[in-house]
């Protein structure tokens, strides 16, 4: 299980990476492994406004459907269109090509977990 040190994590298994005035959001390697083979991703429309913790879309795998939420309040400025045809990018490269959305605004780092804290949470969850 990979947990990159340079990212921040939500308790709901999203990762976040500041990029300019926005934050890139995806789901973690642990989350994609739990879901299994992803077959469909429902992404929000660009310009959708969201609150922190609000549902942004859904990820459908062969065995379940999971919602993912926005770690920050802001506006969706870009979505990963490649996922429409290649939803399995989430399985293959969850921290890279499998990113989900970019939301404008900045992260409140106190609300997020760092890699070590996330790892501890996951270990407790799977114990």
């Amino acid at each position: 299980m990979t947990i990159p040190k340079n990212l921040l994590y939500a308790r709901t298994h999203e990762w976040a990476r500041p990029e300019g005035d926005a934050v890139v959001v995806g789901i973690t390697d642990y989350a994609q492994d739990q879901l299994g083979e992803v077959v469909y991703v429902e992404l929000p429309e660009v310009e959708t406004g969201v609150d922190a913790g609000e549902e942004l879309g859904t990820i459908e795998s062969v065995k379940a459907v999971a919602e993912f939420v926005s770690p920050i309040a802001g506006e969706v400025i870009e979505v990963n269109d490649r996922l429409a045809d290649e939803p399995n990018l989430i399985n293959e490269d969850p921290f890279g090509d499998g990113w989900l959305v970019k939301v404008s605004g900045s992260l409140d780092e106190d609300e997020m977990l760092d890699a070590a804290a996330y790892q501890q949470m996951v270990e407790e969850e799977s114990a």
Binding site: Y40, E42, E45, E60, S61, K63, A64, V65, E67
Partner: protein, 452 residues
């Protein structure tokens, strides 16, 4: 204890001893005395033969649609009922299995449902159809809720033509009220068809869908291509509901003209009237919206030997997996009735269904031509509007007891047009199918003549 012989006194005694109780009544001790009755007022016990004779006598006092000239329609239609439908239906493999979706042991049922979906897709002109729903009214409800989901819950207005079956609208009212959606009813035009100007003038920018029925409640065929363009121009989804599925034998389904959903009632396909049920709902839409489609869906795939096989697919939309966020509460389908429709349609084939629909149209047109013979002020309410196998026969004067009087005269003449409200003229809604003989038409014309 024996698995299918009831418990005897000794068995009951041993169960009570195990429970530490004195008598069976002690099991019900928690029920307050004041809500208990000493005796249910039923007649004394009778033997099987007496019960059968008694019930048969009671049943024979019904005016049977199979014994009288019957012109009842309005959402339930009498069509040919070949013996093979019941013969296949009553096979134990189909008849006794409940939700038989486990692919390892249910290839037969799954194949039937897949064929049903294929047939509905072809007839409606839509890319995908589901495994069926309970009935036409709930299919319309599902179509409306589907539209709301497809537009991501951003549009809370539902526009429905008044010429959608009034009972369907009533069911829809119940659901939309609970969902917090606004329902707007658009009255029909002077010709009994949808008034296009009223549709164009409606608040289409706020609507998630506009639902129309064609052939409509008055039997009239709507202008589907124009309607689809007008409705979709405002960004709302176009929904066609159908109550007389045999019309699809000669009328292209709305999917061919850009309707987003074509749904309705398929009772006409081999399901008998049965005093109002069970019926058979169907639902078809474009593939791009398949993940918002309600209900079960069977897909075709290959097994590990590369052979054709069927299984439920896209189940992640459904309640048993998605719980509260499922696309709908429908977690089943009307399997046995879908089987009946599939057998019936496959027996007729495309040309058979077309011939049947043509016969319906011709019989109905024949009756319409003879209306002038009745005299006494009876007339076609909408003489210039095209109909399929049903039409509104305007009465010379309001007469709500007319249907009863005609039934006493031995003719089930139709349904009083205001039975469920509506802004159309007073009259009889008359349906004519292939089951109506020339003698039936004579009987209706002369019975109406005598009433005048």
């Amino acid at each position: 204890m024996h698995p299918w012989v009831g418990a005897g006194d000794a068995d009951k005694r041993s169960i009570l001893d195990e429970l530490g109780l004195d008598a069976v009544d002690d099991l019900f001790a928690s029920i307050p005395v004041e809500v208990c009755v000493d005796r249910v007022p039923l007649p004394d016990a009778q033997d099987e033969v007496s019960v059968r004779w008694g019930l048969e006598a009671l049943a024979s006092s019904n005016l049977s649609a199979d014994r009288l000239p019957c012109f009842l329609g309005a959402g339930a239609y009498r069509h040919l009922q070949p013996s093979i439908v019941d013969a296949v239906l009553s096979r134990a493999e189909f008849f006794t299995s409940y939700t038989p979706y486990q692919p390892e042991i249910s290839q037969g049922t799954l194949q039937v449902i897949f064929e049903f979906q294929t047939l509905i897709g072809q007839l409606t002109g839509c890319e995908v159809a589901n495994a069926s729903l309970y009935d036409g009214a709930t299919a319309l409800v599902e179509a409306v809720l589907f539209s709301h989901r497809v537009l991501r819950g951003k549009r809370d207005l539902v526009i429905v033509a008044e010429t959608v079956h009034p009972m369907y609208r009533r069911v829809l009212e119940t659901y939309t009220r609970a969902q917090g959606l606004d329902l707007e009813i658009i009255p029909g035009g002077d010709d009994g068809r949808i008034d296009l100007e009223r549709i164009r003038g409606a608040d289409l920018d706020r609507a998630c869908c506009v639902a129309i029925q064609s052939p409509n409640f008055l039997g009239i065929v709507e202008d589907l291509p124009t309607l689809a363009d007008s409705i979709r121009g405002g960004g709302a989804l176009a929904v066609q509901v159908i109550t007389e599925a045999v019309s699809l034998g000669i009328l292209a389904g709305g999917g061919s003209f850009g309707f987003d959903v074509v749904c309705g009632e398929a009772q006409s396909f081999g399901v008998p009237l049965g005093f109002g049920g069970p019926h058979l709902g169907f639902f078809a839409c474009a593939e791009k919206n398949i993940r918002q489609m309600p209900g079960r869906l069977v897909g075709q795939t290959v097994d590990e030997q590369g052979l054709r096989a069927y299984c439920l697919t896209l189940s992640t939309r459904e309640q048993h997996i998605r719980r509260a966020k499922a696309t709908s509460n429908i977690c089943t389908n009307q399997g046995l009735m879908a089987l009946a429709a599939t057998v019936w349609l496959e027996l007729l084939g495309g040309s058979g269904l077309r011939d049947l629909a043509r016969t319906n149209l011709a019989r109905c047109e024949e009756l319409k031509r003879r209306i002038a013979d009745i005299g006494g002020g009876w007339s076609l309410a909408y003489p210039d509007s095209p109909t399929f196998n049903e039409f509104l026969l305007a009465a010379p004067a309001p007469a709500t007891d007319l249907v009863d009087r005609l039934a006493e005269a031995g003719v089930l003449a139709g349904i009083w047009s205001h039975r469920w409200g509506g802004s159309w003229p007073d009259g009889l809604l008359v349906a004519v199918t292939e089951r109506n003989s020339a003698a039936d038409l004579d009987a209706l014309v002369s019975a109406l003549g005598r009433q005048s």
